[in-house]
Symmetry: C2
Subunit: 755 residues, 2 copies
């Protein structure tokens, strides 16, 4: 790094401190704190080396390393040795979980012509690890049920509830049929779940070339896109109900844990499910007749997309080894000097579907390089004030197994000690993705201002701001220019942050670079070192940037005296969500009124095409008005309390250094601030998810639903439930408000005592 | 038709009369007029028979009948005989025009591999006329220049100016290259014109399966979409400069007309152009490298779309027979009883690219059936008050030849006598398309309310309203429900209305049904009777509806005492256009300011991807403010005058029957009302187009530019020109205002005289 760049970093930090004063509060004088923090941060950011990250990636992706494979354990042992070598107190924690692998996979079309799917990804000559057939898991969807079904095929687009609404208008049912859905637009486990809800007896999921094949560019190995025979493996467990071992919901899968019978596990699919390539899908789709698929449903295969049912009839036979397999989480610790009982936790998973040089090793390697650099910093004399825990999770791919079982096992300790969890997963070239708890929005914006993008030579923050300006709506553009901080996303699911945030109430960030390279090797045998070093972050400079970014965040979180939680930002975000759900209800009311009016006015009848007739729509009840007042009042009270806290913090800041008791008292409350947003009773029909502000959608899987109980109640037309959820959400906000007021009172007492 | 249906028609007419009082003014008492008109209209609408339309279509599409072909003349003679048989005074008018046909067509890829394009549409067994090879015109673009070029290929998407702006950002030039554009999004003649402006030496135009091939459904003969070898023929003459014979701009191509040398004709392309199938295009496109095409540019071929230039290099060799060929316009006349010097003209072309059962014969056959029915009505005692002229134009396909030469030949008579021109072209299943002079908007809405859709059993108007409600934005939906009349489109070009409206200033309507069937046989050998009777208006009930609709319009126009021109609607529309061009300038100013700000802020630099670098954008001058006051004032004055006219008409209506002199005086002015919107000096750089309110876009071809001089001045950054055009447009509106005031004064005098 050059002096010029340091200069820019100082400026960026100064701006951040000005715009968001709470982002780096400190018990020292602000100037001294910035200077001290900057000394270690600057030293830290010099340490990560692309060559190291490259070497870790090469080593860990050298062989397939899925759950239960020899190389999965080998990687865990190797990482354990590295952590120890770098001065960490490290160990492996083992869990035993249900992890099915395929025994029989058969897919054939039996009418109108016969075709047997290959279900095989071929080795590629130029790619040395693609031929490791003996160790590769075949292509399959984990936690599909066993099954042997023969039925007509129906194309269901992405297989979301909205797609089935359209099928209904078209007069097509999947009852007794096998649904074929394309990957994308929802988490894959949603597809068989919704298909089964509509009566399908089986489900195929294929990768359409429109979504990650040749439509996006050359296919592997000429380019990064999915080749004709490439298949996306992946879990189809019903994780929006609960993630982790299906046999031990809510408790760690330790040797002595009480386990459900497999037949009692709620999260295994009700129908057999198999992922296939577009090479295997094309003959099936080409054999469909029935209505032409709506334009938005058509992919990039050179065929006319029809919906069916039939005349294509397919035979799908699947059987699995329902084995218990060991998980190896690597857990490494640097003890805190001042606040050892406050934990900053950071994790990435290490298991892959096959070689996984991108997913997850690109992220895991950056984490390892952070660990090495923090160890190095420690040798130079730095000691974190808080305890830092670095984790390498096993079993993320099947079901966030390693993180979930660890969180469930250590729940009580986490409730007492966990301050923040930071997650990463795959890493790539491009822009910083920032999502998580909105208390941390100003904090992570400050971090992003302090690291430099290796391509654009501006801060990661500036580059992200530029992209928001370049691609945003006029409103987004204006906000990106004037708000000071960029908005961070709310978290749904899809990686190991879920148990921390949504089950345990730990303030969480999910970080990672990406967005410049399109690709189609996800969860295939081609996600390997050859691929990654030809088409992704080929020189690992974004691996270095990830290590610099997350390491900087960890150092700041570990060393801040008062935890940098911005409660006003939380309150602002809550208010937006409260406005959102009201707008959602109004929109639904308007839509239903318009729908009913069109029926009354004969609009549907007058526009129906007799050659492509639609089922006549029926009038719906207009959604009732709901009493949002409890939520509005709770949101207002939280805003007031948060304002009081931020003001008290500002007033007290000069006096905090000499009053560690107050700092401890405030931090103890701040650590609980995310916990207040939990309700132990959980969300409706899925009590494992306890966070009432953020959850993965029951029908989206990856995508978040904010105020999930309220929002999904409205979306799913359960208006009584929605109203009850308004009250419950108001209650947790009231608890949060009380906590914030108590923290403010601590600070105000300090100010009074000194005066 | 049942009594119930009659009942609905009466109701519909009553509503129309209430909402738009000016739509059917009359010198009789309104009630009596409605009753009289309804008697003949009702009788008329019973007459058209699908079986007749089917028979005409079968006869006229039995053999290829392009300009200069034996069957083109045969059809003209046959129609002449029919008109005469039905009691019309009919004749053929002949013109002699330049019409090139291919002598040499060669397209081959020479690097990186060799491929010779087939350029051949194969016969299809089930389709009897597809094998008439001896009479078929081969696939080509008429008025392409001769040429023999070998050059690297560049993919230019739709080949519009906006596509070249994107190419520039991508750092790709077509200078010295052959551009390959896909059909669609602009009129085809724009593609070689813009390619040549950017330095291309040749142009290929192909039909991407995304736009009218298998993406839209099964291909012919299994379905209506374009098969792999199907080619869209068509003219590429620079018709936005002038249509018609390239050698006789502005004058009729009569035997004695002075003709330009071919080398002096402005409208022949500057580079050789050839249309090809997607079968022929795929190997060429697949051989391109260079940047990946932007997502919106990618079609439905199973390839990654790249832009080039090269490594594909192609050799294109074209030579044409530059022959003078005869045109045969069939012109039939029913003399008017009361106002024989006021002409209602109605036309459809009869020439096709090959068999043309859809384009144009489906429209021509409906017109013939109207002519038969009007003849029948005359036998029953009806006589039109105005003279009705029915035309079957030849040579529309190459360049609106038959209509343009006829209008240019009869310009003086038309200026004196033409009241309204109604055009149709192809006809199909679905919704009534209504476009034209906005003085006629209430009138044609009234007609649409009087005819019944054969599928939905509601009026064509009601069905169109329903579609607008079903598909519109909330604003459009609200307007469709509350405005009374549906908006009609403004006319650009693409059929025979252009010389009437834009050269001669005749109030014009363009009508036709369609929109329910997607198709991909346009301008191919497959647009034939087999195709039409399998995939389009198979039982010709929409042919009947077209005849009922246009015939009703013709009867009302011919028999109305005061011509049903709504000047207030014209004024309202003009005001909207005036607002539009101001909004356009403001949008351009905002865009340029934002663009410059992003450059200043380093947004482009910060988001540039070094693996896919873009050319850095440069700051632009912000468009200056323009003086719109003359146009605003002229628009206001027209609104005032039109209000005065409509009020005077309403006040005078009961007294008009007894005062034919006033009626004649008013009609004489109304007939000139569209003429006032012309400026004899024409539009900038294309004086043939004289209408200052409606013109085809110089760079769109089909699509209209309203207030074209002003709008294109702004779009093309010629702000001085735009300001001059504001003044010119204001002048024609002032002339229009004077005319409208004079017509109002005529009516007011009548009211005063009677009082």
């Amino acid at each position: 790094m050059t002096i010029r760049q340091h200069g820019r970093f100082f400026v960026a930090v100064a701006i951040a401190a000005f715009v968001v004063p709470a982002s780096r509060p400190s018990a020292q004088s602000p100037q001294a704190a910035v200077a001290a923090a900057d000394r270690w941060e600057t030293a830290f950011r010099e340490l990560p080396a692309p060559a190291n990250i490259r070497a870790y990636d090469e080593r860990m992706s050298a062989r397939p390393h899925h759950v239960g494979s020899p190389y999965d354990k080998d990687n865990a042992d190797w990482m354990l040795a590295r952590f120890k070598e770098w001065g960490w107190d490290a160990k492996i924690e083992r869990f035993d979980v249900l992890f099915p692998t395929p025994k029989i996979r058969l897919l054939e079309m039996v009418t109108p012509t016969r075709f047997v799917a290959t279900l095989e990804e071929p080795a590629v000559t130029v790619d040395p690890t693609s031929g490791q057939k003996a160790e590769q898991l075949p292509s399959y969807n984990a936690y599909s049920s066993d099954g042997d079904v023969t039925a007509p095929l129906v194309y269901v687009n992405y297989g979301r509830p909205v797609d089935y609404e359209q099928l209904e208008r078209l007069g097509v049912s999947v009852k007794g049929a096998i649904a074929i859905a394309r990957y994308g637009a929802s988490w894959r486990g949603i597809k068989p779940k919704v298909a089964a809800e509509h009566g399908a007896v089986g489900c195929l999921i294929y990768s359409d070339p429109r979504d990650d094949g040749y439509f996006g560019g050359e296919v592997f190995p000429a380019g990064p896109m999915r080749p004709r025979e490439g298949v996306q493996r992946g879990s189809v467990m019903d994780m929006p109900v609960y993630p982790g071992d299906p046999l031990t919901p809510g408790v760690g899968a330790t040797p002595d844990a009480k386990r459900l019978a497999i037949s009692d596990a709620q999260t295994i699919t009700r129908i057999p499910v198999l992922p296939i390539s577009y090479g295997d899908a094309q003959p099936l789709l080409a054999a469909l007749q029935g209505p032409l698929a709506p334009a938005a449903w058509r992919g990039a295969l050179p065929i006319a997309y029809h919906i069916g049912p039939g005349p294509a009839t397919v035979h799908l036979k699947l059987a699995f080894n329902w084995d218990i397999k060991p998980l190896y989480d690597v857990i490494a610790r640097l003890p805190g000097s001042t606040y050892p009982d406050e934990w900053i936790i950071r994790g990435n998973h290490h298991d892959a579907w096959v070689n996984g040089a991108g997913d997850p090793v690109s992220g895991m390697s950056a984490e390892l390089e952070e660990a090495r650099a923090l160890g190095e910093l420690r040798k130079q004399g730095w000691q974190p004030k808080r305890t830092i825990i670095y984790a390498a999770w096993d079993g993320e791919e099947p079901a966030l197994l390693g993180s979930t079982e660890w969180v469930e096992t250590h729940g009580t300790e986490l409730e007492a000690h966990a301050a923040v969890y930071i997650n990463t997963d795959s890493n790539g070239r491009g822009y910083l993705g920032m999502a998580g708890s909105h208390t941390l929005e100003p904090f992570i914006n400050g971090v992003a201002r302090s690291v430099e993008d290796p391509e654009a030579k501006v801060s990661a923050w500036k580059r992200l701001q530029a992209a928001t300006i370049a691609q945003g709506t006029p409103e987004e553009r204006n906000e990106a220019r004037t708000r000071g901080d960029l908005r961070i996303g709310a978290l749904g699911s899809g990686s190991d942050f879920t148990p921390f945030l949504q089950h345990c109430g730990v303030a969480t960030l999910s970080l990672g670079y990406g967005g410049e390279d399109d690709s189609g090797i996800y969860h295939s045998i081609y996600d390997d070192f050859y691929y990654y070093t030809h088409f992704e972050d080929t020189d690992f400079v974004y691996g270095r940037l990830a290590a610099q970014t997350v390491g900087t965040a960890v150092i700041r979180l570990a060393d801040a005296d008062v935890l940098p939680f911005d409660l006003a930002r939380l309150a602002e975000t809550v208010k937006e969500y409260v406005d959102d759900v009201q707008a959602l209800l109004k929109r639904r009311q308007d839509e239903v009124r318009e729908h009913n009016r069109q029926i009354e006015d004969g609009v549907f009848a007058a526009t129906n095409d007799p050659r492509r007739p639609l089922v006549a729509p029926v009038a719906e009840a207009v959604p009732p008005a709901l009493n949002f007042a409890p939520l509005q009042n709770a949101s207002t009270a939280l805003t007031t309390a948060a304002g009081r806290y931020q003001k008290a913090l500002s007033n007290a800041s000069a006096r905090l250094a000499a009053n560690t008791a107050t700092v401890r008292a405030v931090n103890a409350k701040l650590m609980q601030s995310e916990r207040q947003l939990l309700d132990p009773a959980g969300l409706p029909h899925r009590e494992w998810y306890r966070h009432l502000l953020y959850a993965p959608g029951f029908y989206t899987g990856y995508d978040v639903k904010t105020l999930p109980g309220v929002r999904e109640g409205i979306e799913q037309r359960q208006y009584k439930d929605a109203e009850a959820e308004i009250a419950r959400a108001a209650k947790v906000l009231e608890r949060e408000t009380a906590l914030v007021n108590a923290a403010a009172a601590d600070l105000e007492r300090l100010a009074r005592a000194v005066r």
